[in-house]
Symmetry: C2
Subunit: 651 residues, 2 copies
Amino acid sequence: MKLNQKSVETLRVLSAEMISAGKAGDAGVALSGSAILFALFKDHYNFFGGEKYVNRDRFVLSASSASSAVYALMNMFGLEISGVDLKNYAQFESKTPYSLEFDVTEGIDCTSGPVGQGVATAVGLAISQACLAEKFNVQKFDIINNHTYCFVSEACLMSGVAQEAVSLAGTLKLKNLILLYNSTNTTNDGNLSSINNENIRAKFRAMGWKVITVYNGNSYLWNTFSIMRAKHSLRPTIIIFKTKVGHGSTLENDYTIHNEILGHNEIEKMKADYNLNGAFNVSNEVKQFCMRTSRRLKVKYSQWERRVVLYKNTHPELAEQLNAFYEKPKIQFLKILKGKMEQSEDVLEFNNIVLNQIASVRLCLMGGNADCQMLTKAVINEKSFSKNNYRGRNILFGARNCAMGGICNGISLYFGAPTFCGALLSNAGFLLPSIRLTAQMKLPVLYLFTHDSVLDGTYGKLLPTEQLSQLRAIPDFTVFRPADNTELLACHSVIYENECPSALVLSKNLQPKIENSDFEQAKKGAYVISEDKDAEIIIFASGNEVKIALEAKDLLNKTNKKVCVVSVPSIELFEKQSEKYIKQVIKSDIKIRIAVEASNDNVWHKYIGLDGLFLNINSYGTSGSDIKAMEHFNFTAKNLVNQIKSMKVGK
Amino acid sequence: MKLNQKSVETLRVLSAEMISAGKAGDAGVALSGSAILFALFKDHYNFFGGEKYVNRDRFVLSASSASSAVYALMNMFGLEISGVDLKNYAQFESKTPYSLEFDVTEGIDCTSGPVGQGVATAVGLAISQACLAEKFNVQKFDIINNHTYCFVSEACLMSGVAQEAVSLAGTLKLKNLILLYNSTNTTNDGNLSSINNENIRAKFRAMGWKVITVYNGNSYLWNTFSIMRAKHSLRPTIIIFKTKVGHGSTLENDYTIHNEILGHNEIEKMKADYNLNGAFNVSNEVKQFCMRTSRRLKVKYSQWERRVVLYKNTHPELAEQLNAFYEKPKIQFLKILKGKMEQSEDVLEFNNIVLNQIASVRLCLMGGNADCQMLTKAVINEKSFSKNNYRGRNILFGARNCAMGGICNGISLYFGAPTFCGALLSNAGFLLPSIRLTAQMKLPVLYLFTHDSVLDGTYGKLLPTEQLSQLRAIPDFTVFRPADNTELLACHSVIYENECPSALVLSKNLQPKIENSDFEQAKKGAYVISEDKDAEIIIFASGNEVKIALEAKDLLNKTNKKVCVVSVPSIELFEKQSEKYIKQVIKSDIKIRIAVEASNDNVWHKYIGLDGLFLNINSYGTSGSDIKAMEHFNFTAKNLVNQIKSMKVGK
């Protein structure tokens, strides 16, 4: 008991020292949550075994400003964080950056992101665990029984993304999910009562959660006991730990500590109170105490390994299926799907065929839609994932656009494999914070957007204009906008092979077949789709507008103008090609340069230069048919030709 | 009683006919909600009086796909929608577009937007009503006592933005807010039970709402009675009307109707069942019955007018204050604030001073922050708006970024006046769907973003990269990124005068004073801030990077290179200037063209052309100080000069 107390106090001092040295972080959360996090690490969180150990527990820090406490614990429990790393907290190129980073620090399960995202990711981790357990556990062989823990603060729970995720987790009865709520009754801007007055216990119960309250969240014993109870729950569980913000500091119980960094004297006072010495110091006694846990987990891991060996012997078929579950066979997209590609008149339908072809060989692929699967048709044609069917691969997210992306991030993290989700492009805004995390973690999540421009008609002001630009602006993210079935298949092929964070953006009116479209060429992101010798005009286009560009070429040819048309299914992919290839396609010696896209993405100015013409859309949609919309927005070959003819190039 | 039934049936048939003619809309929602909406229009919704009547009720259609029913009611109740307008539902340039549009159709209080936004807007409308009532109502003179009604479906309530808004409304005890929940237990993608299993009644109660359930939402009497009860509640109220999706059609109770359009035969069957004749027909009997309400409201309006006259006589001071409340005095920004501008060392601090200067004369200005007011400093320095203080002008939104923008839209709609909200730029993603609505409605909402690039250091991967591009991509929206106090003041001056939807994006490290920055010039969006005669190099920059451009100029001057530097506080504003002025600033005859901005916004390629150099940032942040970040990302004058020197222009 005494050592537990000592350990928590050591953790508090370490956090305070780190935050002070790094001039970053939130001592308010880190100090108040120390006894919770310590109980978790000491007795519950099965962190041993590393990334390849699928049955290890997962820990998500949603309250990212408390990262100092997590690093300090990793140090105390003998994970790959040294005392020097602690001193370098939030410093440039350190192993302990301000927010947890999946790819920087070994042992971190998930990069911390925008507020609330952690909760969505945790729900995704729990979904994939439930799926794997259902498929492969057999009586006496619970080879998959890990838990997902997520540490949250007031702010996380207030966010819509967390609310959506919590609601879905309750609906799906994800019993292996445990939220650790560090309840200080404060936020950055004040005391909670004037900011959020809800009855959190009743609210979570209403959403199908088990609620446990710990009135003294500073008590290691109560904390560890409550986590144990949560692990035996048959529903997702939130434990509300009542703690004091900035526990142990001079600013205890004062919300302003969220925005303060403790000074040298304050930290010295803490140390004196706790009878601790030295800087960034973990006493041997505490170290040994913590290392007992690590040793225990090591034993636990070898037990699991033995269990798996036994499982393989007694259930060879399941063991084989488990291997196959993760396999990534080569798919010869063109060979397998050429026939269907040529037959299919509806590109969204064909996209469904391709997705299901992938799903049939990539067994761990899961996906879902935000209440629009009848529109996107981006569905794995199997029974849905539900509380009664954890074998399902198609998730009914409901209108939870905000959480959907984060949940897919979690699934992809757990399986180390691709996921997809479908939405209308006009709703892309809701997904941007999670896409950012997808890109930062380089996860193979595919965002499938349909109804991609105001030219898709009918829905008027609800149709997208700026969303394509917004998606392309995300670093380390690849956006695909194919022109027909052939290019669509090429995009899928690239996405499948590269497993990169990406979006596939489709018009509901997309042509099934554009003349000269080429599977191999499309894989380069951009290619000359039609060209006259000595062309004097070059037109770049993507998606449904390639057709307009080609029609304009025909019209221009009639007046003896020579034209080159470039189809650009993916700008990001194109810019990764060799300098030589890029030059060949851009042809900067052609003076009359045009881009056509039903978006307002200024990226085209890179290719058309100061005197170029960008036939774009920079306003909102209008109700009515797609044909009316094309006319209204002047997206016709005829108008394009007229505009080209009136261009003043070189003046 | 019989006429009520007849009216509801007429409404159903009209909706079905409109959806069928327009090939758009959702008969599932429209038919099931008819009896609710009719009871609202018939007995409660005080729609008479037009836009200038501040005390009229407000109605927000969050479930936008049910717009047909609203237009049909407007026609039945004698508002400005004709039978022809109904026939033209969802057609090009009609007065009845697919989603309700504030600026297209007289009598519509709010444009419908992305899922859930309506709820946030409704909360904003209720906040401003509470504020106005508190400030100006006196005993016996409730001159402000209107209600805000918001019609929602399953999807709306599942969305995070609605959840955030609902939570805040409960905390603020907004008793004049009434949600009408058309509960069909279905969504587009299936039955609700497998998509959202929560106990909605318990959940809303936990958030401080009054909950009323109507088990037969097809009963006019129960519906109208429950709305009456809600109007007398002391808390915000949700009425759960249990209805059957697609009521009265052959697809009644079948969720697939959400994605179907009823055919001719099905509509004819409905008419036969209801004993109704003709196409788009409202019988005289029904028309007269509805018009009784309109007459009653007309009387009510004149009573209100008389009450106001009396109020002016008995409370002349308050009446005067009420007038002053809406006034928009001229502010001579430079004259009043020049001293403080020159003294202020901290631009965020100075921004606070400007905001408070505006607030001191523009009395209806309200604003708030998403749990970051200590960081943004974008606060009206008064007591906060809370359930105990409806006079407050500073709203503590908590970490409800998603709902914050929508709520500001609502406030701005109610007052017809500016609002602002503050957030960290990295969280801009959450706000994009509401910003889209701000822009579509052309509302004077100012989004104030700080910590605007990875060069602001410390927060590492949490810092923004793509957000500036994403904001600038929004049509009809103006983004300002000033370089110092002078430009900041100029931006505020433009925003104040133009009252346009806009964002102000600030670095926390912004310089208080850049040499040659100019208040009047900055109002043009871009201007030459420093120029050598016969310049051979032109550098465009915004925000904190203007300083780097000027330093680079000094270095280049030392090697006898002649340079022109253009400061661009707002690209959108600049592009609205005269063609002549734009040419003067762009100087397209200069061959060596550079842009510097800590973003990845390709818009700069418009100004630098094919051979231009864009010193940009297209990756995520890194922990550590801002100085380390500047070095890491090569954002130094020295690097810029080196890059310029190695440019191959014209080859």
